[in-house]
């Protein structure tokens, strides 16, 4: 056994992009290895749930959790790792605000199954759906129960820090690892509980190199209707519904740099309680109209308001039942 502090990383309902983003920190991975004992990281090494269960409570210093709570297995492991971890970080958009898969909360669970197992290419005359327990000729086999509502990590357990991004950019991950190592060496202090780490304190617009002339717009456009866009002018001023004004900085405005609008993957900017409400305000402020009909016509240019305003954070929004957990206690 090593006397180094224990590190864990776990994925739940997610796409694997958070893991790739961690691998993309390159040689910094060696710093993790030098300063921590990797106690549980299914993607990289062999330790099982029962090995974690056997640990004393609080035995793991730092756990990075990515992925939403999509099924009962995710939920069970969230409780387990909360008990065993001194510091639990909600890592990436799925864990922190539900991400794209959180849009599943717009529809009843039955519709998700009715769609997935009855597509045009699915041959399912008997209407079979996956079952938690199946009797097969040799015995019974099981799969985890799918929860009716996708939850964020903080809706299930107490979370210490939040790290936004879909996925978090690798330079931000490297910076967080540096910080933790400095804390271990007594050279730095941990931020207050509930803080957002690995991100900026401003908006994507503040990092964006595009020029803003504080102009107003007469219409929203869909990107394929107007491309190619002016390569240097603010996308919102060109009528593209860019989510930059409501979205937290930290990504270095990567998408606007290649001519694509910000879609909001870094979540709400500092101090924002409801992302969608903030974005509505931002869009309203650039609309050049006073007559209600004219305003309505301009807003009709946003064809999918739910997706536009809650694309990544529906599961953690006010719109979704319950109080937002992202940033609970955030300073």
């Amino acid at each position: 056994m090593s006397d180094k502090p224990k590190f864990a990383m776990y994925w739940a309902g997610s796409c694997g992009g958070c893991e790739i983003a961690v691998l993309n920190i390159g040689e910094k991975i060696l710093d993790v290895d030098a300063n921590f004992e990797v106690a549980f990281w299914p993607v990289a090494m062999d330790a099982k749930y029962k090995d974690v269960e056997a640990m004393e409570d609080g035995a793991i210093l730092l756990t990075l959790w990515n992925g939403s709570i999509r099924n009962q297995e995710n939920e069970h492991v969230a409780h387990l790792l909360r008990r065993k971890s001194k510091i639990l970080v909600s890592f990436g958009s799925c864990a922190t605000e539900g991400c794209i898969p959180g849009l599943a909360n717009l529809v009843p669970m039955s519709e998700i199954f009715d769609t997935a197992y009855h597509t045009i290419s699915t041959d399912n005359p008997n209407g079979i759906h996956p079952q938690p327990v199946t009797k097969v000729p040799e015995g019974e086999i099981t799969i985890p129960v799918f929860n009716p509502v996708l939850k964020t990590l903080a809706q299930v357990v107490d979370v210490d820090y939040y790290m936004p991004g879909c996925p978090p950019e690798s330079h931000q991950i490297a910076a967080v690892i540096d910080l933790v190592i400095q804390v271990l060496q007594g050279k730095a202090q941990l931020p207050p509980k509930g803080a957002v780490i690995g991100a900026g304190g401003s908006t994507v617009c503040e990092e964006c190199p595009r020029k803003r002339n504080v102009k107003t717009i007469k219409a929203f456009h869909r990107i394929q209707e107007v491309a190619p866009l002016d390569p240097e002018l603010c996308l919102l001023e060109q009528g593209i519904p860019c989510n930059g004004p409501a979205t937290r900085s930290g990504c270095d405005s990567r998408c606007p740099r290649v001519g694509a609008q910000c879609i909001g993957c870094y979540g709400p900017a500092e101090g924002v309680i409801d992302y969608g409400a903030r974005l509505v305000t931002a869009f309203a402020s650039v609309i050049d109209a006073t007559e209600p009909e004219e305003i309505e016509r301009i807003l009709d240019g946003i064809p999918d308001p739910t997706g536009q305003f809650y694309r990544f954070n529906l599961a953690d929004s006010l719109f979704h039942a319950g109080a937002p957990s992202f940033g609970n206690g955030r300073k």
């Binding site: 994925w11 790739i20 299914p42 997706g307």
Partner: protein, 488 residues
């Protein structure tokens, strides 16, 4: 009935489990490879603007988001009946080649490589990427890291982000490539060609020259006769980005060749109650269960299947290697599934060569990267080859281009039946008379790794041992034996 449970299989997107049932003699009666995950993209994408599909479906897989980005963009082009300018298609494909080279590299060195370079029977602690580096030297380890960095760098330059790129839209891309960027990309591509040739030489020296490995490759445990699928260009050469889907039968004869829009005439998916993932099969052959042969609709979509289903490679160096592979193995098709690793390296070389072809095309820096859609959006299919198999996106929209219906047949899903068959066969070969030996674990893993299942791709640059635990227990749950395999 006794059962062996492998749970959890790690290095999966989500989690996986295999239940192996033993009969009264302790031989394998049956096994079930279960996928316990569903997210429901086909439902919650309804109502979203079609131009967002290349961004939303990225989030199906963070390991190969580039494949979903491209299939999504092509399906959205088709929905709008718009044909992007040549430069736009080339920029998409250039991004895609850089991604492919990276993805195939990391699979070979981190996942599959340990079994061959270090050895299937090597001590468990050495059978990982670090063991590979010890065996081949730090200099080569550095090259592998460099290849990954270059690939991700190109993806970021064109796509905006290393993971979940953002550039493709209906009718083209948002990014115009500068001459400085082009030069840098060309240089990295030339380096990638050398790296691919070096990797093929290493495979030749370390794997093919070793009789033990050759016997393993040509043995029976990983042998299945099935149909093979792959995207081909107008000359029936392997293509990752565009073309028709060609399927050959177990004798190598063309069974069908279809346009993306016709996929539903050829592919059907079966639902089983014990897993969340569906089992695709060839509709015109039919589902006969998890069995080999011409009468079984099971097909494979993998690097080997793409080579089997094609008449060759579209670039000269890759074509030489293609000819060498089939000459060495006695012709087409090759049914020995471990040869997939060799095929993957030939595809790596093709990706690198085509990367340079695209980066040196005089039109690659043209500002003509988008064609505005003018027709009413309706319905469209987009197909690309993901590294792990043919990827089909099918969208229907209303007249405003808002999604009304989605169908997706995702890379690894194609191979679900073959994976079930390969793990089952490996288990049957190893578990006899109730005895489970530690070698089982790695042999079962090798059954997975053939297909580079997307379950595992998140592991690409870390110690490459798939951690497994096998618990041998009686039906009432009494543990007889626990065998663990640890990562060093």
């Amino acid at each position: 009935m006794e059962r062996v449970t492998i749970d959890p299989i790690t290095r999966l997107e989500g989690h996986g489990k295999i239940d192996i049932f033993l009969d009264k003699n302790g031989d394998v009666a049956n096994s079930y490879f279960q996928i316990p995950e569903l997210r429901g993209f086909e439902r919650f994408c309804v109502g979203r603007p079609v131009e967002e599909m290349p961004l939303l479906t990225n989030r199906i897989c963070g390991v190969c988001p580039e494949a979903h980005h491209m299939a999504g963009a092509k399906a959205a082009d088709a929905v709008y009946h718009v044909d992007p300018p040549r430069t736009a298609k080339m920029l998409r494909e250039l991004l895609y080649m850089a991604f492919y080279a990276t993805d195939h590299t990391t699979h070979f060195y981190a996942l599959a490589g340990p079994d061959f370079i270090v050895g299937p029977d090597a001590p468990v602690a050495e059978r990982n990427i670090l063991g590979v580096i010890h065996k081949v030297g730090l200099e080569i380890g550095g090259k592998v890291i460099q290849m990954r960095k270059y690939g991700h760098h190109v993806v970021e330059m064109i796509g905006g982000r290393k993971v979940h790129p953002a550039t493709a839209i209906p009718g083209g891309v948002t990014k115009i490539l500068s001459e400085d960027e082009r030069k840098e990309i060309e240089q990295m591509g030339r380096w990638a060609i050398d790296f691919a040739l070096f990797s093929l030489q290493a495979f030749n020296d370390i794997v093919l020259a070793n009789k033990t490995y050759l016997d393993l490759i040509l043995g029976d445990v990983y042998y299945h006769q099935t149909y093979y699928m792959g995207l081909v260009d107008a000359n029936n050469k392997v293509n990752f980005y565009d073309g028709k889907v060609r399927v050959v039968d177990p004798e190598g004869k063309e069974f069908c060749k279809y346009e993306p829009t016709d996929y539903v005439k050829h592919i059907a998916e079966r639902v089983e109650p014990w897993t969340y993932l569906k089992f695709p099969y060839l509709k015109n052959v039919g589902w006969k269960g998890f069995v080999d042969g011409k009468d079984s609709g099971v097909y494979v979509a993998s690097p080997l299947s793409r080579l089997n289903a094609s008449d060759g490679m579209a670039t000269p160096l890759a074509q030489e290697q293609y000819e060498k592979m089939y000459a060495t193995l006695g012709g087409k098709p090759v049914h020995h599934r471990l040869v997939t690793h060799w095929a993957r390296l030939i595809e790596l070389l093709y990706a690198a060569e085509h990367w340079v072809e695209l980066a040196t095309d005089p039109e690659i820096t043209s500002p003509n990267v988008h064609k505005k859609p003018t027709e009413v959006p309706t319905e469209g299919v987009g197909i690309v080859e993901a590294p792990r198999g043919t990827l089909t996106h099918h969208y229907w929209t209303d007249e405003r281009g808002l999604i009304t219906k989605v169908n997706l047949i995702v890379g690894t899903t194609n191979n679900y039946a073959p994976i079930q068959m390969s793990t089952n066969k490996a288990a049957r070969a190893l578990i006899k008379g109730g005895k489970v030996n530690e070698g089982l674990l790695n042999m079962v893993e090798m059954g997975f790794r053939i297909y580079d299942p997307c379950f595992g791709c998140a592991t690409h640059s870390l110690p490459g041992q798939m951690p497994l635990e096998v618990t041998l227990r009686t039906e009432d749950g009494e543990v007889i034996d626990v065998i663990k395999q640890f990562v060093g």
